[in-house]
Symmetry: C2
Subunit: 218 residues, 2 copies
């Protein structure tokens, strides 16, 4: 049976939007396993626009939905239209945008907040016991939304970000970018991807593919 | 032995730059086969900026090198620094940018011209008998640069674009997006990718992977 999976994006680019490679790997892995995919993003401004060549902020405004359409090849909808009841699973790729646009983790750590449209979607998938996959830094969005649910998550190494996960009432497990962590009880799957900047594309694709396979197996 | 491959990008997005998925698939396939990759793009304005959600032109200017850095995660150089003698092969992903930014094929067909920095690079790889891979619409750039060389190329179906290839003094071979065409004599490998808009991501990745394997096998 074909599984229907919603993917949340938030721009297109590793410094200010959804990480492009992680997003494409997620979509490719889902397609390779015959999932039916629909992409969604908030129809709102990115937190910032960063020149990904020199890392400096640009005096521009870009819209998360419009930019994410670059990755989605135009086939993407406003996150307001995303209803858990129409899907079997949710996937959230990472990138700085996940920590800056979808929530304020990049600025406030575990004290930050998640956009209400995004937290609403995560909560509804969780309540319906539908699996949620999150890549790279995106697990922090799940951790902030589902505070104190004692989820088992990974952000790769046991660094500062991992400590914030624990502060939010969850458990952190170290993991390579070529692998993923499965919380069977809560149906949450996470893979570190570019949390390890030194990981190869092949390793990251392997990790995301494993995560996608686990998400689809629930 | 690790092969060194140069990849030419020209922005980031399917309506106005390098097609994101084709670019990522090319980089992933190269990495999976242990190639050492360097990305390059012209440090110049894109021909246009297109809202990939509604297809309309945007009143903005974006730089090919700066935007391509989103795909390359900042690791990209000005195409002026690309010297064939430092590499074993060249790969060019497709997308509208390939036909609008790197050459004028989108507006003038076979009567158009190729940016001199890009045609210079292609000519030098060709003269050094180094393999060249081109994806989607990008074979037209090779066809325009190497006019009347009787290359065997594919743009997928036998459509209008394919006829322009023949006008330029080459041969066109029909091909599925899950496959590639190899011109052994001239060391040029092409794969249609999103020339078939209905092809799946898995099929396109398969075709690009085959093309990359052939390029590395010379």
């Amino acid at each position: 049976m074909t599984k229907k999976v919603a993917v949340i994006l938030c721009g297109s680019g590793y410094k200010d939007g959804s990480e492009i490679r992680e997003s494409v790997f997620t979509l490719l892995a889902l397609n390779q396993l015959n999932a039916h995919v629909e992409c969604f993003a908030p129809d709102d401004w990115q937190k910032d626009v960063v020149n990904c060549l020199n890392g400096k902020n640009m005096e521009e405004k870009r819209n998360m939905l419009v930019e994410a359409a670059r990755i989605a090849r135009g086939k993407i909808k406003d996150i307001k239209e995303l209803k858990a009841k129409n899907f079997d699973a949710l996937m959230i790729p990472g990138g700085f945008g996940a920590a800056k646009n979808l929530c304020t983790f990049a600025f406030e750590g575990s004290a930050g907040s998640v956009r209400s449209d995004v937290s609403g979607v995560i909560r509804s998938f969780y309540q319906e016991k539908l699996p949620i996959g999150a890549v790279c830094i995106a697990p922090v969005i799940v951790a902030m939304t589902l505070k104190n649910e004692n989820l088992l998550l990974t952000l790769g190494d046991e660094g500062e970000a991992a400590q914030e996960i624990v502060k939010l009432g969850h458990r952190h497990q170290q993991c390579l970018s070529s692998d993923c962590v499965v919380d069977k009880e809560h149906r949450v799957v996470t893979s570190p991807a570019y949390m390890d900047d030194g990981a190869s594309m092949a390793e990251i694709f392997q990790g995301i593919s494993k995560a996608v396979r686990e998400v689809l197996s629930f």
